[in-house]
Symmetry: C2
Subunit: 189 residues, 2 copies
């Protein structure tokens, strides 16, 4: 018996399933905590960098997640330099911190044409800013948004490991790794 | 004239001041978005890592921020390997994303005794977990919290640059750097 309302957190299989359930919830629901993970990368000049991204797809079987971005953003330059990255989600509803180690492939051009075709018009505004994202401009609004399929990139993130921390009445932490077929290991929190 | 309710976002000085005001709000108020930044570091084996931290102090004049952590946590090992890190805050109330590039000093022992003396008892539970944080354990709760001044560390983060993105009706983005005395530069968002 446990007084903990979140029984899933006391079980490695349940905890792993919950991480993926919340990722899928993030894809389906704009208001879900996992809709907006933080993506951490390493810049070409050696600085860790982090920014909010939007989670667009999750495949629990393959263990992959998709993000969309402007091909000319600094994060793409960072990922071409170092494909390893981290995704971080704090899910206040579930008291669950998910930390994912991912290897990222940058997809663009013809290989993402089918995905671009399904991007709704308002979202397309995010791809094709001129000057390029992060370039200096003379005044605050001296840029244009020109939706452009050529500037659209999909970041396909292959998950290598998950560190899950449940911060309920008693803290629980576990690590799940692809190389051990996601079986899970409890860790001191 | 502007219809934008957030006049501060249209002015480099105002935007920079707002970033720091929100950081100070995070120190003062447990519910503030800046109370819980995400800290991104580089692990000794070359993986970007990210986790939630608690903002404990902010000094806008020196341009420093303090976090508290367990001296034996993986983030300390990462920072000893690479002192460069990033702090990320998404402030939904202000529609403001603050991204800080920081250089981190790990302080412990006698040099943080005065800070430890002011850490309230419930917070002390976070420093001194045995086995050490991140170590494998046999079952979910096979660990003890033993508050211990020897395990307490302050991460003093010297801010080198700030990338601020205001996601109001019109997006605005600027970069502020220590080396240019924080004067600010508008960037394409």
């Amino acid at each position: 018996m446990t007084s903990d309302p979140q029984a899933w957190a006391a079980d490695l299989t349940g905890l792993h399933a919950q991480v993926w359930a919340r990722l899928l919830h993030g894809v389906a629901d704009r208001q879900a905590p996992a809709r907006h993970p933080t993506l951490a990368t390493l810049s070409p000049d050696g600085w860790p960098e982090a920014r909010t991204v939007v989670l667009r797809a999750a495949d629990p079987v393959a263990g992959t997640l998709d993000l969309h971005t402007d091909l000319y953003s600094a994060k793409v330059a960072a990922l071409r330099h170092c494909a390893r990255a981290a995704l971080h989600i704090w899910d206040a509803e579930m008291q669950l911190q998910s930390r994912l180690s991912v290897q990222v492939q940058v997809l663009s051009g013809p290989e993402v044409a089918a995905i671009w075709a399904r991007v709704p018009d308002p979202s397309r505004q995010s791809y094709g800013t001129m000057p390029r994202p992060g370039q200096p401009i003379a005044t605050d609004l001296a840029y244009e948004k020109r939706p452009d399929a050529e500037s659209f990139a999909v970041l396909r993130c292959t998950v290598w490991a998950i560190d899950a921390v449940y911060l309920g009445p008693e803290h629980r932490r576990a690590r799940f790794a692809r190389e051990t077929l996601w079986q899970g290991q409890w860790l001191a929190p």
